[in-house]
């Protein structure tokens, strides 16, 4: 640890702060009229100003910034129309049960308007309260925004919540917006037909950024601001380096390989965070090396790695299982594996022969590590030895794993190939 550059520490903190702040990330993507931000803002604000009801679905793969954009919009609108908005947040993972969802709505409505809330109220009470509130708020020019995260989970069962919400919205003079957020593209198809008929089917699709947007985004995130407390010449130099890195073909290569598997913004941010954390604090500048070292961290192969940690006996068991499967023995259990193991031992006279109880322990380890699994979920009453099992690792991976194992017995590789 040499001397530390205080400016570089500050710059690092700033970058990390940015990467964890979705508002910062999505702000520059939101100015064009085609962006989801301005469309969503128009939809919600028009229902505020024109006193109408709307229901909107935000769809897109996970990590594409649905909630981030939504929060950006809500934040802006709360500033724009200070006390006419109240936001009710529900999450499908927590409130997919209609009863508790309605209760939660009532609770949040009470909170928003400083009313007393009773936990004892029944479903009917709460849903009537909600409708009464919708009406009152409509009369007082107040808009209620219901945000339903994991919308698809609300579309299970009888969908009472959605029905009463959407039905109220088309019978009561209220101004309410229902915003469903879901990563399932077919979320609106899950709705029951009478609920779907009441849903107003505005959809906003969130897609991963394209190449140009990506480039802009990277520049926006990684370059330091000129008008901050950082020394000016430092910032200038830092930005110059970043510009060089971004223009570098090798950097593009790294980013592309990384985004090959998943090109959403969130995925990119995770990588950048790791890379930025590798920043050399002495020099205080990001370098291509940082990105290079960060890349392998995201390209790990957990199955292969877990083979690396196996004992020799466990490898034997895996190989035996593979041999059994190749022999098209579709259903086998520990006992048949032991039989195979014994036959191998008999024919090759290996030095690694262990007692049955030891083998059973090894077998259980493999089960815990999910390299093998039971094929049935039933039969908990059975002993482990008798339940049918399956290999959870492909032959190719197993072969790879054996080859890269530090001291793999040659016999195992031979057995694999046959």
């Amino acid at each position: 640890m040499g001397r530390k550059n205080p400016a570089s520490q500050k710059a690092l903190n700033l970058l990390r702060n940015r990467l964890c702040n979705p508002n910062f990330i999505f702000k520059p993507l939101s100015d064009s009229p085609d962006s989801n931000y301005s469309k969503l803002k128009f939809l919600v604000s028009s229902s505020v100003t024109e006193a109408c009801n709307n229901s909107i679905l935000l769809l897109g793969p996970r990590g594409s910034g649905k909630i981030a954009v939504l929060e950006l919009v809500l934040g802006d609108l709360l500033l724009e129309y200070p006390d006419t908005l109240s936001v009710i947040m529900l999450n499908g993972l927590l409130h997919s049960d209609d009863n508790c969802a309605i209760k939660e709505i009532a609770r949040q409505l009470c909170m928003e308007h400083n009313l007393m809330f009773s936990k004892m109220a029944s479903f009917d009470d709460n849903s009537q309260f909600m409708i009464a509130m919708l009406r009152e708020c409509g009369l007082a020019h107040k808009t209620i925004i219901f945000v339903l995260k994991e919308f698809d989970l609300f579309a299970q069962g009888k969908q009472r919540l959605l029905y009463s919400l959407l039905d109220a919205m088309q019978s009561v003079t209220s101004q309410a917006v229902v915003i469903g957020v879901s990563c399932r593209l077919d979320a609106d198809q899950l709705l029951e037909k009478r609920v779907r008929s009441r849903f107003s089917h505005r959809k906003l699709l969130f897609l991963p950024p394209c190449k140009e947007e990506l480039q802009r985004l990277l520049e926006h995130i990684l370059s330091l601001p000129m008008d901050s407390s950082l020394p000016r010449d430092y910032a200038v130099e830092f930005n110059g380096k970043i510009k060089n890195i971004l223009a570098d073909e090798r950097f593009k290569e790294i980013i592309n390989t990384y985004l090959n598997s998943d090109s959403t913004v969130n995925h990119l941010l995770r990588f950048l965070f790791q890379a930025v954390s590798y920043m050399d604090l002495e020099s205080g500048f990001l370098s291509l090396e940082n990105f290079k070292t960060a890349l392998p961290n995201f390209q790990r192969q957990p199955k292969l790695e877990s083979i690396k940690d196996c004992s020799i006996l466990e490898l034997y068991i895996l190989v035996c299982m593979k041999r059994l499967e190749v022999k098209e023995q579709n259903s086998y259990n520990f006992n048949s594996v032991m039989k195979e193991y014994k036959s191998i031992h008999d024919s090759f006279k290996t030095s690694d022969y262990y007692a049955r109880s030891v083998c059973l322990r090894a077998f259980e380890h493999l089960l815990q590590r999910e390299l093998i699994c039971f094929t049935d979920n039933r039969g908990y009453s059975h002993l482990v030895e008798f339940r049918p099992v399956k290999l959870l690792i492909s032959y190719v991976e197993l072969h790879h794993g054996l080859k890269s194992y530090r001291s793999c017995p040659a016999i195992l590789l031979k057995l694999m190939e046959r």
Binding site: C52, A121, D125, N126, S127, K158, S200, H201, Q299, L392
Partner: protein
């Protein structure tokens, strides 16, 4: 769940009497009530109306009594009995009121009102202590009552109240309530708006010029006058410079106001020497030298004085936020402030209208005012007055008459029923004293909703002039009820004849109608509009009254709850569903009467009937069995989507329900077109073909009117967005046309009916594309829709190696597959199954081929598609 027939008089005078006490002060800290501002004002209002405003307020003498009382009462409150107690208390107060009023006149000091002012910090129990020994006796009795059943409490306390009143003065005379009073040359009815004198400048109140003077010549005269829309001054047409021949259309602003707007100093013409400028009532009101009020009830006091109960209006200047820029000159606010005033102080009529009436009233004189909002004097907040309120008022007036008629005969039962109403009113008007009540449960009555209201009326609501497209959007809203319901005349006719046939019979046999049709074909709407028509017929007296209960199966927590809801709607009492079933059985099967309105026929509308199907179908059976009973007088209308619901049920149910059916077919495109264009009548926002296109498209898919309306609204929204964004960049402003075009409708339809999977596939990552291609390839190769991860990974690695891509490794590939599964582009088992994971495309392989064929970065993909 709603029950529409007016069962009980709603605005009975007694209730209003109580409302006098409504502006009491809450003890809860968050109450934003400011004694200083509104409190004084209101009290001054009151005091000025009393005969002797110098009523001394005697300090409260018997403190020990409330102190004794309070622990017990708080116990009661905790037991949930506190409320009842409070009601009884208020009854007590009511018993006292007449007396107290006399007291005031006799300069006797024990007015409950003044006491309240002193002792706001004590609990309500304070009310007990003041008066004569008789009352303390009744109090003891009341304590016993608390532990008895609810109904018993009501009746007894009622009885006691009457006793108390008799004790009070020994007078048998009652107040006499009137619907119409001719007083001082003016004829006043319930629901009229009047000017009310303000004590302080009573002198100037006497002059009452019927006709306004011209601002220029200061003579009234017969000739036509025109009103400036800014300063509301009147001008003779001939006095203007230059003189006008006729009243111009639209707004007109006088030259003085125009000049003032330009920033010039303006000197208004001064009245000739010796002549005082006479101000009209309107001017005095708007400069708060007068008050306006709404008459709620009128009566003659025992001593022969006429009193009335009024609801105050306020001018914008009197509110906390003051006059706001969007306030119109003639705007008033209705308040929730009530008072009793003597008829003596009423000057004459004025006319307060809602915005719609106001815009229609062009030539009705000087005393017309606009009132759109209600102002809450406790919370200083505004709220729009719901339109329903007006209808309600109309009904109330009617039922009040009933009340007066039957009052003499048997007021006992009547009062019983009113009890509930009062109870509600009590909750709402009286801020909580002992403990605040929860808002979301009060047995269906919500407490504290009066807190909701804007502190300021947002400006955009009043000042924004909607464009054509915005108006179109507003009329296309599902929530806006159209004036006419086209295309369902035949069905509505049938429903009407069915109901009329059932209830117009002398015996009123029970009947059952099953209505079915796909969503959005106007089933519920038609039935409800039939019921509205019938209600107006009831009011006109051509058919006899009935009770109407509406239940929605999907809004019930469980099917059994329907009994509870029905029973509550019929009787107003809340019981458990088992008890409710028993009571309903008694009523419908055995013909036992619960309350006196039971002989009315009952129409039960059950929406989403299929939700009531339970395992043994007992709920449906019970409900559908009642109409077959001889004395039930029950008519059941069931609405559901499926055509064959009766057939799916047990035969004993379908034989009871399936006889009479009515089908609402899906709308065809002409009908949809008619529905849309009837809503858009007079609004030039849509191209004709656009509407036709939308309705044809919807008719081809579902025939759902909601869909059609939503598509049009969405199209209007898209067009609006396009136009607004274009005007932001002035470069292409000329391109924006004011109409909703075909392209917008097309976009809306796309958005509504198309799954966005193709776009997602197009923009997905490289590996996901390869993954999908491998899926399609696998599908073509094997012909099987389903594959497993192991096979697929082999295919992917083969594809990758033969096209010079690096194979990413199995685990990353698994992750890619799971991501696709999350979006439901493919269907897959959980990733922990790894090699055994089963995969299947969720969309046709052609879609994948279409999406990926011309991908730029991976042109070789098309080989495999």
């Amino acid at each position: 769940m709603a029950e529409t027939t007016p069962k009980r008089p709603y605005q009975s005078p007694r209730k209003q009497q109580k409302q006098q006490f409504s502006p009491s002060i809450s003890l809860t800290p968050q109450t934003p009530q400011t004694l200083a501002s509104s409190g004084t004002r209101r009290s001054s209002r009151r005091r000025s109306l009393l005969e002797d405003p110098t009523t001394p307020e005697k300090p409260f003498s018997s403190i020990e009594k409330p102190v004794n009382d309070s622990p017990k009462s708080s116990n009661l409150a905790r037991n949930g009995e506190g409320l009842k107690q409070r009601i009884n208390l208020s009854k007590e107060e009511r018993g006292e009121t007449p007396k107290s009023k006399k007291n005031v006149k006799d300069e006797n000091v024990k007015t409950p009102r003044s006491k309240r002012k002193n002792d706001e910090l004590y609990s309500v129990e304070v009310m007990f202590s003041p008066v004569s020994p008789e009352l303390s006796e009744t109090k003891k009795k009341k304590r016993e009552d608390f532990f008895e059943e609810k109904t018993a409490v009501v009746t007894r306390s009622k009885a006691k109240w009457r006793n108390g009143k008799v004790d009070d003065g020994g007078k048998k005379k009652k107040r006499v309530y009137y619907k119409k009073v001719v007083y001082d040359g003016g004829e006043f009815e319930l629901g009229d708006d009047v000017y009310v004198k303000r004590r302080e400048d009573a002198s100037s109140d006497d002059e009452d010029p019927e006709v306004e003077e011209c601002r220029v010549c200061f003579k009234a005269g017969r000739s036509v006058m025109i009103e400036c829309d800014d300063c509301l001054g009147g001008f003779h047409l001939k006095c203007l410079k230059p003189p006008l021949k006729q009243v111009p259309d639209g707004d007109w602003v006088c030259t003085f106001c125009e000049a003032r707007k330009m920033g010039k100093e303006v000197e208004l013409p001064k009245p000739p020497e010796g002549k005082k400028r006479v101000r009209t009532m309107r001017e005095k009101l708007l400069s708060s030298h007068l008050w306006a009020a709404h008459i709620q009830s009128m009566w003659k006091e025992v001593d022969g004085n006429y009193w009335c109960h009024v609801r105050w209006y306020m001018i914008p200047e009197e509110t906390v936020s003051g006059r706001q820029p969007h306030n119109l000159r003639r705007e008033l606010y209705r308040t929730n402030d009530f008072a009793h005033i003597e008829m003596e102080s009423i000057i004459r009529h004025c006319f307060v209208k809602n915005p719609k009436e106001f815009s229609e009233a062009s030539n009705e004189g000087d005393d017309v005012f606009l009132c759109e909002y209600e102002y809450d004097i406790h919370w200083h907040s505004f709220k729009r007055i719901a339109e329903i309120d007006n209808e309600g008022d109309g009904e109330d007036a009617d039922s009040d008459e009933d009340w007066n008629l039957c009052k003499a005969a048997d007021s006992d039962t009547d009062e019983d029923m009113e009890y509930e109403e009062e109870y509600v009113k009590n909750l709402q008007t009286r801020p909580p004293t002992a403990h605040e009540l929860a808002a979301n449960s009060r047995k269906g009555r919500f407490f504290g909703l009066q807190k909701i209201g804007t502190k300021r009326i947002p400006e955009h609501v009043r000042c924004h002039k909607p464009t054509e497209i915005e108006r179109a959007k507003a009329t296309l809203l599902l929530a806006t009820l159209p004036k006419s319901l086209p295309c369902r005349n035949k069905e509505m006719e049938e429903v009407t004849t069915f109901i009329k046939g059932a209830i117009c019979d002398d015996h009123c046999l029970g009947r059952c109608l099953y209505i079915h049709g796909v969503p959005g074909t106007g089933k519920t709407m038609s039935v409800l509009s039939v019921m509205r028509n019938l209600k107006s017929e009831v009011e006109a007296g051509s058919i006899r009254p009935y009770s109407f209960v509406e239940v929605n199966g999907l809004k019930l927590a469980s099917p059994e709850n329907i009994y509870r809801v029905i029973y509550e709607a019929l009787s107003g009492h809340r019981v458990g569903w088992k008890k409710a079933l028993q009571l309903l059985n008694e009523r419908f099967s055995d013909g036992k009467k619960i309350c006196k309105e039971d002989d009315r026929p009952c129409i039960l509308l059950i929406d989403e009937l299929d939700l009531l199907v339970t395992r043994n179908q007992s709920v449906l059976y019970n409900i559908l069995d009642w109409p077959t009973k001889p004395h039930s007088k029950l008519i059941v209308i069931g609405i559901a989507n499926t055509m064959d619901l009766p057939e799916k049920l047990l035969p004993r149910i379908s034989s009871r329900m399936g006889v009479q059916r009515l089908c609402f077919g899906p709308y065809n495109y002409q009908q949809l077109q008619e529905i849309i264009s009837s809503r858009l009548k007079g609004i030039e926002a849509f191209e004709r073909q656009a509407i036709e296109f939308a309705s044809r498209k919807v008719a081809a898919i579902s025939g759902d009117a909601r869909r059609a309306l939503e598509i049009c609204r969405r199209a209007a929204e898209i067009a609006d967005y396009r136009i607004k964004k274009l005007t932001v960049n002035p470069s292409s402003a000329s391109a924006g046309k004011g109409l909703v075009a075909m392209a917008d409708v097309e976009a809306a339809i796309q958005e509504m009916f198309q799954a966005p999977h193709i776009q997602v596939m197009k923009s997905s990552s490289k590996l996901s594309k390869i993954f999908l291609t491998a899926m399609v390839h696998e599908l073509y190769k094997t012909g099987m829709g389903e594959t497993d991860f192991e096979k697929l990974a082999m295919t992917v690695s083969f594809i990758c190696t033969s096209n010079g891509e690096t194979f990413p490794g199995w685990d990353i590939l698994l992750k890619v597959g799971c991501k696709l599964g999350e979006c439901r582009i493919i269907l897959c088992e959980p990733g922990s199954r790894h090699r055994l994971q089963k995969l299947q495309l969720n969309f046709p392989s052609d879609d994948v081929a279409f999406a990926l064929k011309d991908s730029k970065e991976l042109s070789w993909l098309s080989k495999y598609l």
